[in-house]
C-alpha cells in the first residue's frame, strides 16, 4: 500500500522548513522511527523520523529546498494489512473529525442574550455584550429591559429588540429608548441591516490568514496610521528611453539578460534622491530628528501568488543598469519561489512599485514605512501629445508618488518629480551625471 508522509509542524506554528539532508533514497527500506530527512525550521533543526516501516518510492525536494508544512515529503510502499491501510488514511487527514462539531441546534443559542428569567448571570461590565452585534452573531431573540423602557417603547411604537441597550448585561433602559427615538429612522434602519451569518454551511467562506497576509495587513495599516500620506502624479514622454532600450534589448537578450525599463527607472530615482535627500530619509520622532541615509537600498514590489513581497537591491547606487537588470531578475524569480532570505527583505531606504506592468495608469501607493516615499510606475502607452504646436504620438509613462508629508513638503516632491522625469525624458543625462 502506498503511504504519503507530509511534513509535520514540529515546532508550534511553523509554516515551512528547509531540507538539510536526506537520510534515505529511492528503493531503500526504512523502519518506523528511523530518520528520513533533516529539516531546518525557524525554531529547530531536527530529524524527521518515519511513522511507518516500508520502502521509499519517492522523495520530494532536494537539499536546500523549502518545504511547506503539510506538503508530501516522502512516499513509502508499506506492506499493508487492511487495518494498517485504514490507519494510514486516517493519519493523512487528522483534523477531518472537527468539521461537523458545530451542532445546528446549539447554534441559534450562541450570541443570544439571555432573558432575566433564564439565568442569573450578569457580567460585571457590558463590554462583551455591546460588541456582539459587530461580530455578526445572530440577532438577539429577546432583549433584557426595564419594565418602564418596555412600556415606553410600546407606547411609541418601537421594537424594543432593535434598541441598543447600555444597562447591565445590555439591558435596555428608559434613557436608551429616549435616545433611540432621538437618533431617528436612519439610525434604526442601519441596525436592521442584515448581519452576515457566519454559519459554516452558508455561502460565505472564512479562510484563515496566512502568515504572509497577516504581515502585509499589519504593515499596510501601520504605514497608514503612522504617516501623513500625500500623493502627486505626473506623466512623462519617454520616446528616447524607449529607443535606447530597443536598441540594446536584443544584444543583452543574447546574453540572457532581460533589459526592462525598471533598471533605468531605478537609476533615475537614485540620481533624483541624491538631489533631494529627504526622500531617502527616515523620521525619528522619539529623538526628534531626521535620519538621512547615505545608501540607496531600493525595494522593488513583487507580485507573487501568496501576496506582495518587497526584496531590496542593496547599494543600488553602485550598480550599473545591466547589474540592476540582473539583480532584479534574480530577486523577483526567487520571490516567486519564496526563496528570499530575511536579510534580502530588510533595510530598504526607498521603494518602487511598477504596477503598470499589470495595469493601471495612476495610483496612490502605500509608503513602505518607516521609509518616507514610494514611487509608482503606471502602464506605458501611446497618447496624442502636443509638440512644437503639432499633435504627435508620444510614448507616455504615468508616474505616481506617495510621500510622508510630515517631513516631505509638497514643493520638494514637485522638485524631485521634475528632476526624475527629466532623467527619464533625456536618459543619456543619467549616464553623464
Amino acid at each position: 500500500m502506498k503511504y504519503l508522509f507530509k511534513f509535520p509542524d514540529i515546532g508550534e506554528g511553523l509554516t515551512e522548513g528547509k531540507i538539510f539532508k536526506w537520510y534515505v533514497e529511492k528503493g531503500q527500506d526504512v523502519k518506523a522511527g528511523d530518520p528520513l530527512v533533516e529539516m531546518e525550521t525557524d525554531k529547530v533543526v531536527a530529524d524527521i523520523p518515519s511513522p511507518k516501516s516500508g520502502t521509499v518510492i519517492k522523495t520530494y525536494g532536494n537539499i536546500g529546498d523549502t518545504v511547506q508544512v503539510g506538503s508530501v515529503i516522502i512516499e513509502l510502499e508499506i506492506a499493508g494489512v487492511d487495518g494498517e491501510a485504514a490507519q494510514a488514511v486516517a493519519q493523512e487527514k487528522p483534523a477531518g473529525k472537527t468539521e461537523h462539531q458545530v451542532e445546528e441546534k446549539n447554534f441559534g443559542v450562541v450570541g443570544t442574550i439571555e432573558s432575566a428569567g433564564e439565568g442569573a448571570y450578569l457580567p460585571s461590565s457590558n463590554e462583551g455584550l455591546q460588541s456582539m452585534p459587530e461580530t455578526g452573531a445572530p440577532a438577539p431573540r429577546k432583549v433584557l429591559s426595564t419594565p418602564v423602557a418596555r412600556a415606553m417603547a410600546k407606547d411609541r411604537g418601537l421594537d424594543i429588540n432593535q434598541i441598543k441597550g447600555t444597562g447591565p448585561a445590555g439591558r435596555v433602559t428608559k434613557k436608551d429608548v429616549e435616545q433611540h427615538r432621538g437618533a431617528g429612522a436612519i439610525f434604526a434602519a442601519s441596525h436592521k441591516a442584515p448581519l452576515p451569518d457566519f454559519h459554516p454551511t452558508t455561502l460565505i467562506e472564512a479562510v484563515p490568514l496566512t502568515q504572509m497576509r497577516k504581515t502585509i495587513a499589519k504593515n499596510m495599516l501601520l504605514s497608514k496610521q503612522s504617516t501623513a500620506h500625500m500623493s502627486v502624479m505626473d506623466e512623462v514622454e519617454v520616446g528616447e528611453l524607449v529607443a535606447l532600450r530597443d536598441k540594446y534589448k536584443a544584444k543583452y537578450a543574447e546574453q540572457g539578460i532581460k533589459l526592462s525599463y525598471l533598471p533605468f527607472i531605478i537609476r533615475a530615482a537614485i540620481l533624483s534622491l541624491k538631489l533631494h535627500p529627504v526622500l531617502n530619509a527616515e523620521l525619528d520622532m522619539e529623538n526628534e530628528q531626521i535620519v538621512y541615509k547615505k545608501y540607496y537600498n531600493i525595494g522593488i514590489a513583487v507580485d507573487t501568488p501568496e501576496g506582495l513581497i518587497v526584496p531590496v537591491i542593496k547599494h543600488a547606487e553602485s550598480k550599473s543598469v545591466i547589474e540592476l537588470a540582473n539583480e532584479l531578475a534574480d530577486l523577483s524569480a526567487r520571490a516567486q519561489e519564496r526563496k528570499l532570505t530575511l536579510e534580502e527583505l530588510r533595510t530598504g531606504s526607498f521603494t518602487i512599485t511598477s504596477y503598470g506592468s499589470i495595469g493601471g495608469y495612476f495610483g496612490v501607493p502605500v509608503i513602505n514605512y518607516p521609509q518616507v516615499a514610494i514611487l509608482g510606475i503606471g502602464r506605458l502607452s501611446e497618447k496624442p501629445i502636443v509638440r512644437d504646436g503639432q499633435i504627435v504620438i508620444g510614448k507616455m509613462l504615468p508616474i505616481s508618488m506617495s510621500v510622508d508629508h510630515r517631513i516631505v513638503d509638497g514643493a520638494e516632491v514637485a522638485r524631485f518629480m521634475n528632476d526624475f522625469l527629466g532623467f527619464l525624458k533625456d536618459p543619456l543625462t543619467m549616464f553623464l551625471e
Binding site: V45, A95, V110, G111
Partner: protein, 362 residues
C-alpha cells in the same frame, strides 16, 4: 545524616562517581539487589519512552513535548520513595514520577496529543495535573501539605520545580508558607542548568539552589541528581523527616537537561557541544549501570533485548493514545464556567467558523 551537608558550604551529597565507584565513606547500601535491578529497568523504560515520545512528535503525531533525557535518576529515585498515601505535584519534566504515581504512558501521550482529559489520570488519584505555568504548582503543593497536616492525614507531598522556577514569586511564597505551617512538603528542584536558554549562572547569585530553602528555615540539601543512590538516600531521609512532623524539606538535584527544553527548542543555539559532552560522562543511566556491573548484577540483563521489549510496549501505549478520542473544540470553552458567559459564547462561535473555514480550505 545530612547535618554535615549545609548548603552554605556548597557541599554535594554524592554516593558514586561517574565510573560507578562508591566514593561516599561509610555508605551502607539501603536497597536489595532486586530493587537495584528494578530501578535500573525503570530508568531504562523511562528513557526509552521519552526518546520515543520525541520521535513521535517529530513524525507529527504528537504536540510539543519536554524531553526528560538525563534526569531519570531523580525521577526513579522519587518513584521508589513515593508511597500510596503521598501526593505528587508535577512541573512538566518528571515522566518516571507520573508513571510511579499511577499514570499510564497512554495518558501521558494522550495529554501531549492535546487532550486535557488525559490529565485526570484515572489510575493516579494523588497525582496533580502537569503544570506548564512555571512554579505555580508549588503553591498547590504547600496548600495540599497544609491540608494533610490539618486533617491529620497520612502522606507527604512531593513537589517539583526547575532552576528557572526558583526565580518566580510563587516559589518563595510556597516555601515560606510550607515552612511557617510546617507542612509535610518535599520541594525538589531539578537544577538542570538551563531555564529554556537561560544558564543557571545568570538565573541567581546564590551559590546554589539549596541555600534558598535555608532562608525560609527549611532543611535543605544539594545532592547529585545524576546519582540514583544519592537521590534515593536524600529523598528517603526527606520523607522520613516530613512524615515525622518535622515540616518541609528541600532537595536541590544537580543534573543536566541533555535534550532540548521542548521539541520547539534548539539548544545548539545557546550551548556548546563541549558542555554537553562534559555532562554526558556523568549520565545517570551509565553511572548506575557501571555501579551495578561492579556488583555483577547485570549479567543476565541485556539492554538491547530489554529495549526492544519496551519499545513494543510503548508503541502499544502510543497507539492506544492515537485511538483515543480527540479533544473537541467546544471542550476548551465548556469547562471553565458552569454557565457559559456571552463573551465566551462569541469566542466559541468565532472559533467554530474559523475551524469550518480551515476545513474547507484543505
Amino acid at each position: 545524616m545530612f547535618e554535615t551537608y549545609n548548603p552554605i558550604d556548597d557541599k554535594l551529597y554524592k554516593v558514586i562517581d561517574n565510573a560507578g565507584k562508591v566514593v561516599l565513606k561509610g555508605w551502607n547500601n539501603p536497597l536489595t539487589d532486586k530493587e537495584l535491578i528494578q530501578a535500573y529497568r525503570d530508568m531504562l523504560y523511562e528513557r526509552t519512552a521519552d526518546t520515543m515520545a520525541v520521535n513521535f512528535q517529530r513524525q507529527g503525531r504528537m504536540g510539543t513535548y519536554p524531553p526528560n533525557l538525563g534526569q531519570e535518576a531523580i525521577h526513579i529515585a522519587s518513584a521508589k520513595v513515593i508511597a500510596k498515601d503521598d501526593w505528587v505535584v508535577p512541573a512538566f519534566r518528571e515522566l518516571g514520577v507520573y508513571l510511579a504515581a499511577g499514570a499510564s504512558l497512554m495518558e501521558i501521550f494522550w495529554y501531549y496529543k492535546g487532550n486535557e482529559n488525559a490529565s485526570k489520570f484515572a489510575g493516579a488519584p494523588h497525582l496533580l495535573p502537569i503544570s506548564v505555568p512555571i512554579a505555580t504548582q508549588l503553591l498547590h503543593a504547600s496548600g495540599l501539605g497544609f491540608s494533610l497536616k490539618y486533617k491529620k492525614e497520612k502522606g507527604v507531598v512531593f513537589a517539583y520545580v526547575g532552576d528557572g522556577g526558583t526565580s518566580e514569586g510563587d516559589f518563595h511564597e510556597a516555601l515560606n508558607f510550607a515552612a511557617v505551617w510546617q507542612a509535610p512538603v518535599i520541594f525538589i528542584i531539578q537544577n538542570n542548568q538551563y531555564a529554556i536558554s537561560m544558564p543557571v549562572r545568570q538565573q541567581t547569585r546564590s551559590i546554589n539552589m539549596a541555600v534558598k530553602g535555608i532562608a525560609y528555615g527549611i532543611p535543605s540539601v544539594k545532592a547529585d541528581g545524576n546519582d540514583f543512590l544519592a537521590m534515593y538516600d536524600v529523598l528517603s531521609y526527606a520523607k522520613k523527616q516530613a512524615s515525622a512532623g518535622n515540616g518541609p524539606f528541600l532537595v536541590e538535584a544537580l543534573t543536566f537537561r541533555r535534550g532540548a527544553h521542548t521539541t520547539s527548542d534548539d539548544p545548539t543555539r545557546y550551548r556548546t557541544k563541549e558542555e554537553e559532552n562534559t555532562w554526558l560522562t556523568g549520565d545517570p543511566l551509565n553511572r548506575f549501570k557501571s555501579f551495578l556491573n561492579k556488583k555483577g548484577l547485570l549479567k543476565t540483563l541485556d539492554d538491547k533485548s530489554l529495549e526492544e521489549e519496551y519499545k513494543l510496549k510503548i508503541t502499544k501505549e502510543f497507539e492506544a493514545a492515537e485511538a483515543a478520542p480527540e479533544y473537541k473544540p467546544d471542550e476548551v470553552f465548556a469547562t471553565m464556567f458552569e454557565q457559559m458567559p456571552d463573551e465566551l459564547k462569541r469566542q466559541k462561535h468565532a472559533y467554530e467558523s474559523y475551524l469550518a473555514g480551515k476545513e474547507r480550505q484543505k
